[in-house]
Symmetry: C2
Subunit: 349 residues, 2 copies
């Protein structure tokens, strides 16, 4: 019932702790007789090593700290956290998840708490800025950033937002749309990834502009609505999407299609469309980004899916590399994919 200690196991098997350890670790010379006895006891007592004691001895905790900006507002975060946690578990690592909610002080406290707990690595899914990341690195803890980078030093996984947004635009343009609105984060409000000098928002907006240019469609500033993806009610991004949608729909020459760079934003747009008595996709086509809420919306939303689970898994891969001292790829790039559902259709001619 109660887990024995290594010492007790050794005693029961009539050998020393060193021998038990050798059997458990599978290295060093052990006679078959001794091995059998130890294995027998281990099995019988279902002995499991005390990770705390091991951590003290090896200064490794088999625990990873995962700092998230706000896991509750955007399902994106839970999904990558989930992917990370599952990958970690497979390798015997546990994950401690902490939300900073945009508060740099809470983020810093999290790093401190992680340090005290001897976590083997710290992963940021949106650091508030480089400070916390540097703080972690200063303690010689391997650090990883996911989706957005605030430093050049930490290994980093993200999605190719430019290509993803281009795909969204291609989807719309292929359906015959030419009057396409863009609704997304304002590049001026987000820091660029230091490594390449561009932010997620830069990529997405550039893709929009480039796609129009390539299709020979003039850019109409009225079709571009930028904001901040707000994480806190009452101006959460869904409300923001609603507001932008309203503005777009009262235009005399309103868009026939809208590209919202986040499903939550798109959810708000859907509400404004409904309120305006417009039908989707008959009157207006709508495409989102992320594939979080998309399948649950009405109508089911066509969207650019992010590989959230893979983002988490890759993040863990980088963390593990850091832990084991292997060189880690600095800037991993994953692919998005357009999932066509019911919110987009061919422009009636």
């Amino acid at each position: 019932m109660k887990n024995p200690t290594l010492i007790e196991v050794a005693k029961m098997a009539g050998v020393s702790t060193a021998t038990v350890n050798r059997v458990l670790k599978g290295n060093g010379y052990v006679s078959d007789a001794a091995r059998r006895k130890v294995e027998e006891v281990v099995r019988r007592t279902s002995y499991q090593p005390n990770i705390v004691a091991r951590g003290l001895r090896t200064s490794r905790s088999y625990t990873i700290g995962f700092i998230v900006s706000s896991i509750t507002v955007n399902p994106f975060f839970v999904n990558v956290a989930r992917g990370f946690e599952a990958a970690a578990l497979r390798q015997g690592y546990s994950t401690i998840i902490v939300n900073h909610g945009g508060d740099a002080e809470r983020e810093q406290n999290a790093v401190h708490s992680f340090r005290q707990r001897q976590v083997d690595a710290i992963v940021f899914n949106h650091a508030t800025g480089p400070q916390a990341v540097h703080l972690a690195m200063a303690s010689n803890i391997p650090v990883v950033e996911i989706e957005r980078a605030t430093t050049q030093e930490a290994p980093f996984v993200r999605v190719d937002n430019y290509v993803g947004a281009r795909d969204a635009m291609k989807h719309l343009i292929d359906l015959g749309h030419r009057r396409i609105a863009f609704l997304g984060g304002d590049p001026a409000l987000f820091w660029p990834d230091p490594g390449r000098g561009r932010s997620v928002e830069d990529d997405r907006l550039a893709a929009y502009n480039d796609a129009l240019a390539e299709a020979g469609i003039a850019v109409d500033p009225a079709m571009i609505r930028l904001g901040r993806y707000n994480n806190e009610p009452p101006l959460a991004s869904s409300a923001e999407g609603y507001e932008h949608g309203r503005r777009l729909l009262i235009l005399k020459d309103r868009p026939t299609a809208i590209f919202a760079t986040c499903d939550i934003l798109a959810a708000g747009v859907l509400q404004s469309l409904y309120e305006a008595g417009l039908s989707v996709p008959r009157d207006v086509s709508l495409i989102g980004f992320d594939d979080t809420l998309a399948a649950n919306l009405t109508p089911p939303l066509t969207t650019v899916a992010q590989p959230m689970t893979e983002l988490g898994e890759a993040g863990f891969g980088l963390a593990l590399a850091g832990i084991e001292g292997r060189p880690a790829d600095g800037d991993l790039l994953l692919k998005t994919s357009v999932i066509a559902r019911a919110s987009t259709s061919r422009l009636p001619s």
Copy 2:
């Protein structure tokens, strides 16, 4: 830069480790001079105790294991986990979250892993069954169950589902609806809480029946659609809601209002309504449960809100009580509240 050890702090302050500890813990007699010296060093080095070492010594890890059935599919779980984590953090506890995804073996592994890590308590937000809970208790680890109980022994927090569902029905009936459909989990498929012999599903369905009876409305079996809230695609509960919605809407005498006992289910119903060309709430009113997706749906969904954060906080309270050996209330009951949004309206007469 590097965190010093207690011993180093003692050396720097020119005192013994015992004295440093006394200063840190604030108990025992310490001269002012010694106290000042120690505090000075602690501040200067920003010393923080090594929790792993402390854990080995005290056999407390200041870590709590939180086992969730599937944090990714229903935002309900993230929200209570978030509430729990925040409350825990305030008291210096970290939370390790593990998903079992309905798999009892994974759940068992989680318990084992938690035991190895010397977690101070284990919390279940839907245990798959009593086994894992008992396994945890057998290791003398305080256990808490949230929302659904599988044992009588573990302290338990939940919401009053009967009252919540009655409120939903009252909302609809007050609006003049009499032909009201019920869409929820099949009581036959869910284990009752052992303490009271009733399940969440029992409560909600009973509330539906009682409300109709009290209003003098005959129960029409065709209006009751039971199922399982499925957590895995492709039959996730949104698809289930869609399916049930379709069946309800092709009835010759279709409902004027629908009570879906989960926002995700309601999201699916909304899709079926849209597809059928029906307008909400003009043609059909819809009320959900949980308040997870509700605000993001089209139209914004009237729903019975669960106090998810509080559920998590209360769960932590019970866990802490268990850790500190205080008696914990066995069965905490929290209140729901109806949030009226745009999906319900008075029945046109």
